[in-house]
Symmetry: C2
């Protein structure tokens, strides 16, 4: 099963290598990972998406909690939460193809962040389903470059 | 100096731990890191923001290039590129404060992704300057939770 794990850590060097090492040490791949500062720059938040056996992931979460720089581990999978991802897509869009690509961009409320005679670069945010849908629609036009942040998540409610 | 480094890697387990280890092994902190799949799910792209001595960062980039799962390393700092980040912010917004928070949200074209009697959760994308500006404006209202993806970047032009 897919798990979205939110980990609050002290912003010290080496913490990312230790967290990533916990997963790889058990042969677990990280599907996506984001890490950035919180309001307090001495504290960072990682959002990790992984999949696999629930029991093993539970063990990894327990071991994460034992790491010295880890403040809190939340598995958001069971909680009511909002998930979002940001993607930048550079797609070939010459001549009459540009209008087609713009039409897809408008349907998904994507923003154009760069344009030149041969390509368009779009910025899209949304949940996994929306992101995957626009990627599938743009594939036939030839995607030259695709950069995704990976998922971040926040609990609903207070 | 700040560097934004884009690293294309084989999507194998352990690669993130090795990349992160290269930085921490030299005492270098990673300010933010995103990793997600590309169009080809067997290949992922990492966007790493770090700062420090240019010569040391150049050495780290050379060592990254030597890692077996690393396909390509681009330091985007010197290239013309677009940078974007996604942030979710849960801010206290009771009664008459809600209108104030909504006004700030509208100025920054932030989207409301969750609302309840006590808080509003906003989604904002932009460059570092814009993100920092809205965070500063929302701080006095009491930010309950802040999750940021960290920066991703894409070159301009074809």
């Amino acid at each position: 099963m897919k798990h979205t794990i939110s980990v609050l850590v002290e912003n010290r060097f080496g913490v990312l290598a230790r967290v990533a090492g916990l997963f790889s040490g058990r042969g677990y791949n990280i599907d996506s990972l984001c890490v950035g500062e919180t309001v307090d720059p001495s504290i960072s938040r990682m959002t990790i998406v992984t999949h696999g056996d629930d029991r093993v992931i539970e063990q990894i979460e327990k071991q994460l909690n034992r790491l010295i720089d880890v403040i809190r581990v939340n598995d958001l999978t069971q909680e009511d939460h909002v998930e979002r991802e940001l993607v930048l897509i550079k797609v070939k869009a010459e001549n009459e193809k540009r209008r087609d690509v713009m039409e897809i961009a408008n349907i998904f409320r994507a923003k154009v962040v760069d344009v030149n005679p041969k390509t368009l670069t779009l910025e899209i945010t949304g949940d996994e389903e929306k992101i995957n849908a626009i990627i599938e629609l743009l594939k036939p036009y030839n995607i030259k470059e695709l950069v995704r942040t990976g998922k971040i998540a926040i609990t609903r409610g207070e």
